[in-house]
C-alpha cells in the first residue's frame, strides 16, 4: 500500500471564537485506498486535535458521518480519496445549522422523525400467546427498500425544498411513514396522515428527486413521497366524491 499527500479544505467553525465559518487547508499523507473519513481521522490524530466531526461505524451503516464533499452530500466513510482530483473540500451537511466544524445541529430532523410515528402500530393488538404477526415475502417486499434508511440526513442536505422551507417534513421522515403505512401488519396510517398529508408534509415536495440521487442506501425517498401524494389524493377524492366508501 502506498501513501500520498492529499489536500483537504475543511470548513471550520468554533462558536466560542468565530463569528462565521472559514476554510482551513490541511496537507495530509494518506494511503490511496483510504476514504475521506480516514483522512479526517489522520488530521485529528497527527495535525489538529481540535477538528470536530461525527463518525462511528466506518462502514456506511450508522449514518453519522454525512458531510458535503466537494458540494455533494456524502458519507465520509464511503467517499474514496482516489475518486477526487485536486483539493477536496469538506463542509458540514447543508441546510442544517453548524454546531462546530463539521458537526451539525440535527434536532429538527429528530423532531420530525418522531412526529411521523416511525414504528409499528398493530392493526389488532394481540397477546404474545397468540403468536407472531405473519407476513408473506410479497408483503415484505412492498416496503423493504424503505427499511434500509440509516437516517444519515444526506437527503435533507440535497433537498432544495428543505433548504428554502425548513418546516418541510422532508424526505427521510415521510419515507419512513410510508414504510410503516405499506406494512401489512400496521394500522397507524390515519395517525401518520395527520402529519404527512399536509402542506408542510408531502405537498411541499416538488419532486426535484435529489434525495434519491444522493441516498447511500438506495432507499429512493422520492418514490415514497410521490406514492404518498397519489394515495393522499385518492383519499381526498374518496372523502369528497364517494363519502359512502370506507377508506
Amino acid at each position: 500500500m502506498s501513501e500520498r499527500v492529499y489536500q483537504l479544505e475543511v470548513l471550520r467553525y468554533h462558536p466560542e471564537t468565530d463569528s462565521e465559518p472559514h476554510f482551513q487547508r490541511y496537507s495530509v499523507s494518506c494511503e490511496e485506498e483510504w476514504v475521506v473519513l480516514d483522512a479526517l481521522n489522520r488530521i485529528k490524530e497527527t495535525i489538529d486535535p481540535t477538528l470536530s466531526y461525527r463518525w462511528s461505524c466506518h462502514m456506511a451503516v450508522c449514518g453519522s458521518c454525512g458531510m458535503m464533499i466537494n458540494g455533494e452530500p456524502m458519507l465520509a466513510c464511503k467517499s474514496f480519496l482516489r475518486d477526487y482530483q485536486g483539493v477536496i473540500r469538506v463542509e458540514p451537511l447543508a441546510h442544517f445549522p453548524i454546531e462546530r466544524d463539521l458537526v451539525t445541529v440535527i434536532d429538527d430532523f429528530m423532531d420530525k422523525f418522531k412526529r411521523v410515528k416511525p414504528y409499528l402500530i398493530p392493526k389488532h393488538e394481540k397477546p404474545v400467546s397468540e403468536g407472531e404477526y405473519l407476513q408473506s415475502p410479497a408483503q415484505l417486499k412492498k416496503f423493504k427498500q424503505y427499511t434500509m434508511c440509516i437516517n444519515c440526513m444526506l437527503c435533507y442536505a440535497a433537498c432544495p425544498e428543505y433548504g428554502l422551507i425548513p418546516k418541510f417534513l422532508g424526505p427521510a421522515a415521510i419515507s419512513m411513514a410510508h414504510r410503516y403505512n405499506q406494512d401489512s401488519r400496521d394500522g397507524g396510517r390515519d395517525e401518520r396522515q395527520e402529519e404527512i398529508a399536509t402542506t408542510e408534509g408531502v405537498w411541499e415536495c416538488s419532486f426535484v428527486g435529489a434525495c434519491s440521487e444522493v441516498c447511500p442506501e438506495h432507499v429512493d425517498p422520492a418514490s415514497a413521497l410521490q406514492q404518498v401524494k397519489i394515495k393522499s389524493t385518492v383519499d381526498w377524492y374518496k372523502e369528497h366524491l364517494m363519502p359512502w366508501v370506507k377508506k
Partner: protein
Amino acid sequence: MGEKMSRKPYVREVPKYSWFFRRPRYMRYMAREVTCIFIGAYTLLLLVGVMRLSQGQAEYEAFLAALRSPVSVVFHLLALGFSVYNTATWFNVTPKALPVQIGEEFLPGGVITGAHYLGWAVLSLAVLLMAGVF
C-alpha cells in the same frame, strides 16, 4: 470539566433566487419546471383559436393565416421541443410514483415508462386521424 458549554449554532441561508445554479441536478429540475410554460402558452393559443372559430369564418381564416407567419412557426417548433422534453422527463420518473407489484416482484421501470409512451403515441395517432391527416 466545569467549563460551561456555549452554543451558538451558525445558520447558512440558502440563496432564494440562485440556489438552482449550485448543482447540475437542480438545473435539470428547473429545466423540467420551466418548459411547462410552453405547454401553458400553447394551450392559450388553442383557446384563442377556439375563440376565433366562434367569431366566424373570416376571423378563423385570419387566425390560420397568422399561424403560418415565421414568428408563429418558430414558436410552434420551440413549443413542440420543450413540450416533448417536459413530457419525457415526467414519463421517465413515473416508475417511482406508480410501482406495480405482481406477486413478489415489481414490474421493471421500463415497462411503466414504456406504457406511458405507448399511450402518448396512441392518443397522438387518434388526434391525427380525427384531424384527417391520414
